[in-house]
């Protein structure tokens, strides 16, 4: 049983996307400073910070390539198949997971929440590139700001 403030936050995508927007703004602003300090050093602070915030809230798996705002503020890595682009064809009639019948499908939740997100909601229709598995366990925030998370996109985009 989840404690109510966590459950309530999880189901407030409009609030979470606003938080994301503010954080993203500040991180981008801080980028030159981070660069001077050294991304490695910043990551040492950021990784524990990400673990204590994103783990209880989203079930973060530390894939290092956070795409929460494009997936209805619901972590796609909690899908047992790690699908990044939407639900598989195995979703049960009650909206639960093919693999774990007791778990609601991550993507059913993601879609419902994306509809309540005025800023980033439509991004659920974007195609997410394959993961860079080397980034597992690293800081998604630092990867995003430093551009490490976008290494593959040159070939990927049409």
């Amino acid at each position: 049983m989840k404690r109510w403030p966590v459950a309530m936050l999880q189901d407030s995508p409009q609030l979470l996307e606003w938080v994301y927007r503010c954080t993203a703004f500040w991180f981008r602003l801080l980028n030159p400073l981070w660069k001077r300090i050294g991304y490695e050093r910043v990551a040492r602070v950021m990784i524990p910070l990400e673990i204590v915030t994103k783990k209880p809230l989203f079930g973060c798996q530390m894939c290092g390539q956070c795409t929460l705002h494009s997936t209805g503020m619901t972590c796609p890595m909690t899908c047992p198949k790690n699908l990044r682009n939407g639900p598989c064809g195995g979703v049960r009639a009650d909206g639960h997971c093919e693999v774990f019948p007791d778990m609601p499908c991550v993507w059913v939740q993601a879609y419902e929440r994306s509809l309540r997100m005025p800023i980033y909601g439509p991004e659920i229709h974007h195609i997410q590139p394959p993961l860079d598995r080397r980034l597992e366990g690293s800081s998604a925030w630092v990867n995003w700001v430093s551009g490490r998370a976008h290494a593959l996109e040159m070939v990927w985009d049409d």
């Binding site: 699908l83 682009n85 229709h125 593959l152």
Partner: protein, 336 residues
């Protein structure tokens, strides 16, 4: 509909682009190292369909690999659709397999995520899922169009595939399913084969939305259909096969049919009726007939639905550059 330049020149592609109603059928590779077993199953199907889908360890149960079974079909002059899933292979293996498949003369590929390992008889296995179906599609498209691997390294000869993907309009989130299809089309899908349809009203609603957003003009949609052998099969599929939705009315109809023989006939009748209803839904370009381990039944269904004869244009093995052993022609004669 989606006329235009041929990308792979496969028979399936030609049938679809010419605007004819296409019929594909599913073949489950045997639990055998004997090529005869593949030919036997294909023989029944080849006469009644435009292309044969070869499953890739469906329900996570091991059978002969789909690439090998497809290669056998190509050698014998049949037209296979290679089903390839993300469950068992990472991106390195997938890219290698795509090149190998093209070299073996396979021209149609259906990119799937794959059933979870837990659905099969070896749930101890590691689930890979390095890519998902949409990423696999886009990767195959990049290899074809840009002639490069995912790393950007150049290919000497790009694989020319007619690219397909699956859709399941019969499970939640229903409203998103048409948009998910749109995503697959954006990723590179040129044809779609849906999960088994037993719920025509649901399909109708899905197709209405698909036409509404103009997808029927950009992709060929083949609706999955299949005969149910008995009430027991229906119950089993409902319980154990992921993503299958069978309404109660259908099971009730089967139950009323009584004897095993009666149920088999009723199952066939239901399937024929569904095909006839589906045929008239705007945006439907064909049907994909699936019947696990009852290939003869598939032939009967296609015949009774009035979908014969097929506009056959056999591709002789030599035309696709595959030199098979001579006696393969004897093993599985192509019947035009």
């Amino acid at each position: 509909m989606t006329e235009g330049k041929l990308v792979a020149g496969s028979r399936l592609e030609r049938v679809l682009r010419s605007g004819r109603f296409a019929v594909t059928a599913e073949l489950n590779p045997p639990d055998s190292a004997d090529p005869e077993a593949v030919y036997e199953r294909a023989l029944v199907l080849a006469e009644v369909c435009d292309a044969i889908n070869v499953t890739d360890a469906a329900s996570a149960r091991v059978h002969m690999s789909s690439i090998a079974a497809c290669a056998l079909l190509v050698r014998a002059g049949y037209e296979p659709v290679l089903q390839i899933t993300c469950r068992d292979r990472n991106r390195i293996a997938l890219q290698g397999d795509l090149l190998g498949a093209a070299a073996l003369g396979i021209r149609n590929v259906l990119c799937l995520t794959g059933d979870d390992v837990g659905a099969g008889d070896q749930p101890q296995a590691k689930r890979v899922f390095d890519l998902d179906s949409i990423q696999l599609l886009r990767m195959a498209r990049i290899m074809r169009e840009k002639g490069v691997f995912l790393s950007g390294r150049r290919l000497d000869v790009a694989p020319k595939f007619f690219l397909g993907a699956a859709a399941n309009p019969f499970v939640p989130p229903y409203e998103w399913r048409p948009y998910r299809l749109a995503k697959k089309v954006a990723a590179g899908a040129e044809f779609i084969q849906t999960q088994l349809c037993f719920d025509v009203p649901r399909l109708r609603a899905f197709m209405a939305k698909v036409c509404d957003i103009g997808l029927h003009e950009r992709v060929f949609i083949l609706v999955g259909v299949g005969p149910l052998k008995s009430v027991k099969t229906a119950e089993y599929m409902r319980r154990r096969v992921p993503g299958i939705h069978i309404p109660d009315e259908i099971v009730e109809r089967l139950r009323k049919a009584g004897s095993a023989r009666g149920q088999r006939e009723e199952g066939k009748r239901i399937c024929v009726e569904i095909i006839q209803q589906v045929k008239d839904i705007p945006g439907v370009a064909g049907v994909h007939v699936m019947a696990y381990a009852q290939e003869e039944l598939v032939a009967e269904v296609i015949e009774e639905a009035g979908l014969l004869p097929r506009p056959h244009r056999p591709t002789p093995p030599s035309a696709v550059g595959v030199k098979g052993p001579k006696d393969n022609q004897k093993l599985a004669p192509y019947v035009p």
